[in-house]
Every structure is written in C-alpha cells, then in structure tokens.
Amino acid sequence: MTGKKLLSVRNLEITFRTEGEDIPVVRDLSFDLDHGDTLGIVGESGCGKSITALSLLGLVPSPPGRISKGQILFEGEDLVQAGERRLNQVRGNDISMVFQEPMTSLNPVYTIGEQIAETARVHFGLSPAKAWARAVEMLDLVGIPSPDTRAHDFPHQLSGGMRQRVMIAIALVCEPKLLIADEPTTALDVTVQAQVFDLFQELKQKIGAAIILITHDIGVVAQMTNRVMVMYAGRKIEEGPVAEFIRDPRHPYTRGLVSCIPRLRLPPDDHPAPLFEIPGVVPSPWELNRPGCAFAPRCARAMARCRTENPVLAPLGDGRAAACWLETEAAA
Amino acid sequence: DPKDGGTLTTFTSGYRTLNPAVQSGAATGAPGSQIFAGLVTVGKDYVVQPYLADAWQVSDDQLTVTFDLVGGAKFHDGQPITGEDVKFSLETVRANHPFGSAMFGNVESIEVPAPDKVVLHLAKPVPGLLYSLQPLLMPILPKHVYGDGQDMKTHPRNMENVVGSGPFKVEENNPAERLVLVKNQDFFLKGKPHLDKIVYPMVKDPLTRVLMLEKGEIDYAPFAGIRPNDASRLEKAKGAHVTTDGYEAIGYVHYLELNLRNEPFSKREVREALAHAIDTGFLAKVIFGGRTVPGTGPLHTGNPFYSADVPTYEPDMDKAAAMLDAAGYPVGADGSRFSFVLDVPSWAPAAHVPMAEYIQAQLAKLKINVELRKAPDFGTWVKRVSSWDYEATMNGSFNYPDPTIGVHRHFDCDNIKNVIWSNTQGYCNPEVDTLLGAAAVETDMAKRKALYADIQRKVQEDLVFIYMPQDYSATVYSDGVANLPDSPFGALSPFYDVYLDK
C-alpha cells in the first residue's frame, strides 16, 4: 500500500446543460476506494451511476455535460484537472471500464483481436505481433474457446455473452488498477449473466484490481462486492459493508429497496405476501432544485425537516454512513 | 494578294451527315460545299460561274445542256472525276435530296459522251437549273465509293472516311466535338485553296459563340449563330465585323399558317382580322431588335423576284374586332369569340415562341383564346401539320435560290399533300395555279419577275399565310478574313478563294 487511497472522489458535481439551464445530475458525491477493494454502486435508473463512472475516466459527454465541482483523486492525482493527454494514459491503462451494452460497444468493423491488441500497443508500446499474442492470451483468460482463431472474428460473429467477455478482455489487457463495470450483465440472459459474474469472481483474485460494479440488482452486489454505495437522485444516501447493509439497511429508501425484491424463498403456505412498496418514482433532475431530501415525497416517515433541509451524510460506525435525518437524530 | 496558309475557325452546331446530296440545310451544306465540288458556283447577283465544269452550252430550245469538265480533276482518294461521276451524282440527288425531283424532275436523260463531257436532256425548260448544280445542291460524288448499291441516305461513307472532290478534305470528323478539314493539295483549281485548314468546333450554345467571337476564338460565324442583340454587341467589339450579306438566296421567312379547311380560318375576313391584330412591325422591333423587316409575302426581300407591290394590313384592333363581328364571330356568352390551338414547332424556338406568345396576348385582347401547344419534338409537329391535323401553327421556310423550289410548294393546288412544307394549309386558287405554272417554265427574266409579282399580290390578297418578320441572319467575321464568298449562298459556297490576312 502506498498509503494513498487508490481513488478518492471529493464533492463531485456533474451538470448537464438542458434548455439553457445547468441541471446537476450528480451532486456532492464523495467516496473512497482502496487497492483491491470492490465497491458496488446501486440505485434506481437515472440516479447518476453511469455518469459518475464516466466522470472517473473523463468521459462525461461534453457538451452538454461537465464536472462542475469537486475532485477525483486517483493515487493522489486530481483527474478533473488532468489534460486529455494525461487522461489517455490513465484510460485503459490504470482505469478501465466495461460497458452495459456488449452488442454496440465493440467497433463492428475491426476484429476483436485487433480491438484488444491496439490497447496493448498504445499503452505498452508492444509490437503488433506481441500485442496480438497478448490479445489471444486475454481471450483465453476470459474463457473464449479456441482464442487464436476467435481473435480473427468480427464482433457480429459473437454472441452477447462472448462480446461481453471480449469487453472484459479489453478492460484487463493492461492490468488496470481500477476496473469499472457498468451493469455488465443487464443485457445478457440469466444463465449467461451467471457465467459472466463467475468470470469476474475468478478474475478478481487473478488481477488484483479494485473493482467498481454498477448495478441496480442488490443480489449482484451481495455476491460480487464487499462494500456498497447507494445513490438516489444524484446523491449518495447510504454506504457500508455489504453484509451489514443487506441485513440492516438504514435509509428508508434502501430499506425499501432491499425488501421490495421478490425472493426465491417459498413461504410454507405457497402464498407469498405482497411485496414491500416504495410509492412514486425517482424525481427528475429538474425537480431537485427544491430544498429538502429528494426522497421525502416518497418516504413514509418523512418529517417536516426532511422537506426543507437536505440531510447530511451521518457516519454510523463500521464504515457505514447514511444521509437521513432520522439517523442523524437517532445518533444525536 | 491572297496569302496561303492559316486556319479558319468557324463552328458547327451539329450535323448528321456530311453529304449534301442526301441532306439539305446549312449544317451539312456548309462543310459539304468544301468537301465536294459542283459543276458550277453562283457568284454575286446570281451570276453562275464555272467550277468543275469550265464551260457549258445551252441549246436554243433550252432542252439540252452540255458541260465540259476541267481536265485532271481528282477525288480525294486520287481517282479521276469523270462524267460518269457527274451522272451518278445527279441521279443520286434526284432520288435522295428532298428537292431532288423539284430540281431535276425534268431531266429526262444524262449522257456521258466522253469522260470529260456530260449532256443533260430536259423534258421542259428548267430556268433555275444551273443554280441547282452548285456543290450545295449537287455535290459531285465518287461513284466508285457510293455506287455500291447501298442506300444513299444511310450510306456509311456519308460520315466515315468521306471521299470528296472539293477544295478541302476531311481530317477529323467527330460530330460531338469538331470537324477538321484540311487543304486538298491536289485540288483541280490550281493554286487554291489558300487556307490550310478549316475547323468546325461543335459549339451549340449561341452564347458561347458570341464570347468566342469576342475573344477571337472563332473567325467566322454564319447562319443563325448570331442574334440581333449579339450583333449589336459584336459590332462594338474590336476586330469583328457583322454582315447580313450571303443569305439572299436562302430567304428565310416566318409566317403564321392557318388551316384553311375549317372554320373559322376558312373565312378570309377572320384571317384579315388576325392580320390587323398582329403588329409585325412591333415584332420585328422586339424580337429582331429592329434588324429585320416584316414579311410582305412569300418571297424574301433579298430575292430577285421580290415585289413590294402587295396589299398590306395595318395594325388596327378596332377594325379587327369589327371584322370579326361581321364575320359572325361576336363575343359570345362565355366572353370569347372562339378558341384555337396554336402549334409551336421546336426548330426555331427563339423566333416562334415569342411570336406565338405575342399572338396569344394580342388575340386575347380580341377575346380569342389561344392555347399554345409546343410540339414535344420535331416529328410530332411534322406529323400534326403534314396530316393536316392542326388549327394553326407558327411556321417558316426557305425560298431557296429559285421560287420553283421554295415557293411553289406552298401554293400549288396539286401539292396539297401529307408532306411537311407542302401546301399543307390546303390552299387552291386556280388563278394562282396558272400563274405558278407559267412562272416555272418562263426563261425570260423580266417576264418571270412580272409573273411572280402577280403571284405575290394574289397570295397576299387571299391571305394564305400571315407573314411575320423575316428572319435575322448575319455573319460575323474577324479582321483578316478576306475574300469571303460574295455569293447569295454565302457560307454555303466553296471557300477556295478565302484567305487569312493577319
């Protein structure tokens, strides 16, 4: 350990310019990640998970988006301030990313071997032959059968699961220190999804990289990560080790989230009870400019304070924290 | 003194054949008259001059004409030109040229007593015969090339590997781009021609021609290449000359042709009303920039037989209206007197379209609805007019050197045929018919003139056609082009005397 955190995000704010207005979609977001750590980010659709991930690589689509506040300290270096050239050294090399859509995330006109190899060429300066060999090796690593012939295939010749493996191979080819996987399996079949997660599990040990896994499936988080961060409407509302989080979620939203999932457990009478419901929907970013907790309108336990003041993140011990006035008040 | 050498650049707007024996018109005629020789040429004031025939004798009864050919004349391929070739040429023209039978129908037989002698035996006297023997109308063709039995109209040698007899030979023949003629070193008139080359680049666009003339890229531009406004422009340009000489024998006249078979145009009063409604002086001014005069009859003012002593119809709308009322065409309940379709052919749009539009606007004032119908192509118009399936059409035709060719066809009772530019309007006046018959065989110039004066008056009295302004034809040539032919046939005459003095 260098002493420095691998990644330390400080008060990050990301805004999008929409109809002449700067709308923040991620605000005041801070979190840390150590070497070898696995962090899960969960939250409802549109809460800012992907944008956060993209911001780590300096890939927020700009215009209209931009990082308007905060720091992203990667091994102590602020990537927000880094230039494009420096970012290109980091991207794919120190930090790499696997995207949600394996069907469209590979360039259709180049062979998969080439798409892996070029990363190695660019970052390691390998000769084309060596880079190709490295690509084949990576394909083998991610479990693609007969990798030396498959390397010559074009993306459209592969199934979704295989393509996602190729994406993983690309992400890992330079042995990054941080791997970000943004919903890597949502587009895949259940059985294939399981295969991919197994691959992740397997590789986690081998590569020793820190992993950020973005998902909306708490089940996945439970299996794959050791820490979890929950986002709601662009903010972090709860954070902590996975086991405690699942057992005892603290924020009313996360509590709801954990219990609204149907379980594979059969009740003895064969008649499952109705699911827990969180009423309403996630607010749109436009609605976030009003004061108060963004979840208050949907919260059964909302108090007067919740509607006027934004809750601060309160540490709860054991590395846990939640942004809820109930918790703050209970702790006080 | 004539100088030898140099290239004369003129232009072509496209030709389909180089053989004037099978195709009339300037596009073929201008280069054709250089490539092929004729028995004679026609000089200033219609004076016939020797060419391949260095002498000829006409018998007293006017029925036998004997030609002596120049000695040692050769075709471009080196074969000698003989009386047999002349005989062959005349027969070819008679069979294939549009006016072939008009020109040579009365040639009963052709005799070649010796290789350098040709004798024509005529059934009747043919006053214009010698004019028909110039290269434009009767080019001397090599029998050894064309006498192979193939159809003359579509003979391959009309375009490829053309072997002629004239002062210039074909060097390059690419109708899409250019025609190049070079001096015939073995020309039978010694010391001629003077020019090394005549180049006919394909320039379809009149605008381009004007610019090229201005810049001196074209030395010589005859034939409808120049419009009145261009003439004004070019007259001011340095080193360019504009002349209207050289079109007398062509005599291009425009007219409104009405189908005389049907109402309302079968009524002379209606035709007269129209004549009063159309101000041809105004048209001459607007369309031709005042550079031409209104036509007064079938003959062009430059024609030797032209007579000005004809009835004219002053522009007078009130009179026209009154005449129509009287003729039984008052303004009807629908606000109009009558309607008709006016065909507009496609071959002289610059003249006919404005004329037709003017007529439409003018007659609208008289409450006559005119619908213009533009023929989709030349053939469709020909079909309509020659099958008499029309009400009225803009039209125009050439007088040609002799009225028997260009004029009689429109008025002869027995020429009411389904042939274009015949008597398609269906006019028959026995009196005129008799006069035409007499004029055709009259060999005394003065008497003939008198006959034609009568004819012109009668035809205008009957208002067979309503004559429009005459066409404007001008030639532009640049400084240094010398000795251009002074023939009334102008650019359609051989250029063996032309030289460049630059």
Binding site: T18, P64, P274, E277, P279, G280, V281 | P206, L207, V210, L211, R227, N229, D230, R233, F282, V286, I287, G289, V344, S346, P349, A350, V353, P354, A356, E357, Y358, Q360, A361, E371, L372, R373, K374, P376, D377
Partner: protein, 293 residues
C-alpha cells in the same frame, strides 16, 4: 395495501407530441425565418397578380432594360416583358407544379411504402421490386422522356416528377412501417380487435408521420428544383411561365442581361432554401434526441 400513484403537486397539462414539436420548432430561428419566407412567397404568388397588374406575358417596354431604368422595377426580359410581373406569376406556376408533384410523390410513396412495410412477405417483395425498378430509371432523364413524349402540360410535368421521385419516400415509409409494425402498441391495438386498415392508417401512419412530414416538406423543394430543371431545358408548358423557364428563356441573353436569370434563380433558391430550413426545423423538432440537448 394500496397501489399508490405518484401525485405531482399539480396535474400537468396534456402535451401532445405535435404540440411538443411545435414548441421545439418555435425556438428554431432559422426555421421560423424559412416559414416567413414561404408565407411571403405564397402570399405574393396568390395575391400578387391582383396587386401588381402588369401583364406578365405582354411586351411592355424596351427589351433587356436593366432594373431601375424604367417604371418596371426589376427590368425587362429579352422580349420587353416585365420581369417582376413574370416572377410573381411564375411563382404561381412553380409553386403549383412543385406542390402537386410533391403531393403525388408523397401519396404514391406512402401508399407503396405503407403496404410493403405493413404486410411484408410477398406484398413487400412485389412492391419492392417495383420500387427498385423505378430507382433504376435515371430520374431526370426519364421525366424528360415522359414530358417530351406526352406533351409538356403542367399536369404532365407534375405527374412525371411524381412518378420518378416517389421511391425514397416509399423506402422511408416502408422502413418506418416495418419498425412500427413490430412495436408493442401496434400489437396491443391488434389484440383489441383493430383491423389492418385501422392499423395502417390510424395507428401506424400517425406515428410514422414525423419523418414523413419532413420528407414531404423537402420533396416540395426537390420537386420545384426538378420542375425548374425541366423548364430550363425547354420542357415546359408553353401556356405557363415558371421561374425555371424564365431562366431557360433568358439564358441566351446573359451577356446583356444578367438580371433575367439572376432574379428567377434567386426566387427558386430562396423558396427551396426556405423549405429546407423548415424541413430541418421540423426534423429537429420531431427528433426527441435533440430535444434533450
């Protein structure tokens, strides 16, 4: 247990997709500018002849008078006709032909495309063969042939343009129909007993409308250019003068009068430009992707 619905503070007003597009369109300055020009041109063509009564086909002044040198504002043409009167009346002809050709293009295109896209299979095969066939024909050349052979009346010109230009509309319509046909709301309509006719014209077509409206708008411009081309070549109704024909007629005189071709050309240019601006504006307005930006 109650199924709670979200209850925003106040009920939002109903915003139809059309209204939404119009709102978007209103913010597009160049599109509004285009719309204004079109309005101007249409007004001038419709009412102009009653206001400016100089007869367009009559020779009223010295030929080739430059603009400003006589009472005739834009000068006269080679026959001394008033150019301004010609432009005003020519606008009528140009717009009429352009509009009717576009209507024809769109009608044929949509019908063929809709049937092919909706029914697929054999119907599609046959209709696409026909479409391919018309695509293979050289469009301008073929239109020239048709106009020439069947006499150049305004109707024939419009028909010829329509007949050679409908294929791209058909392809677009087909693609849209194929896409929409598989959409669940179409299946939903079917599951509640909607017949094919309803599905095609009432369900799918309105949803395919945005791109079709754009091509319809643009095809007016294309048709105007097409008509101009034909007229320029002399394939025009002799009883009606359009802008394109004015260019063709005046072209031989450009050395003496550039205005004779410049003004009618500008009229065409402006009209088609305005139409394209509006078309672009519509395209943007209908494109939800751009809406967010």
């Amino acid at each position: 247990m109650t199924a709670t619905s979200t209850t925003p503070a106040s009920a939002p007003e109903a915003v139809s997709p059309g209204r939404q597009a119009w709102r978007m369109f209103r913010q597009n300055h160049s599109a509004l500018f285009g719309l204004a020009i079109i309005a101007l041109i249409v007004l001038a063509s419709v009412f102009g002849p009653y206001v400016y009564t100089v007869p367009p086909r009559e020779m009223v002044w010295m030929p080739l008078t430059p603009p400003g040198e006589s009472e005739y504002l834009l000068g006269t043409d080679y026959l001394g006709r008033d150019l301004l009167a010609g432009l005003i009346n020519g606008g009528r002809v140009t717009l009429t032909v352009g509009l009717s050709a576009a209507v024809l293009t769109v009608l044929i295109g949509i019908t063929v495309g809709a049937l092919a896209g909706f029914f697929g299979g054999r119907v599609d095969d046959v209709l696409m063969r026909i479409t391919e066939f018309f695509q293979v024909l050289p469009n301008l050349l073929f239109a020239m042939v048709v106009v020439m052979l069947f006499s150049p009346s305004l109707l024939n010109i419009a028909v010829a343009i329509g007949v050679v230009s409908w294929t791209s509309t058909a392809r677009l319509t087909r693609a849209e129909f194929m896409r929409l046909r598989e959409m669940e709301f179409v299946k939903a309509e079917r599951s509640i007993g909607a017949g094919n006719a309803r599905l095609i014209w009432r369900v799918i077509l309105p949803n395919a409308a945005p791109p079709l409206i754009v091509v319809a708008a643009l095809s007016i411009g294309t048709a105007i250019l097409f008509e101009a081309g034909l007229s320029f070549l002399g394939l025009s109704d002799p009883n009606a003068t359009s802008w394109g024909r004015m260019i063709g007629d005046n072209r031989p005189y450009i050395l003496d009068s550039s205005w004779g071709v410049t003004f009618p050309g500008l009229c065409i240019f402006l009209t088609v430009l305005a139409i394209s601006l509006v078309g672009d504006g519509l395209n943007d307005a209908f494109n939800p992707k751009l809406r967010q930006r």
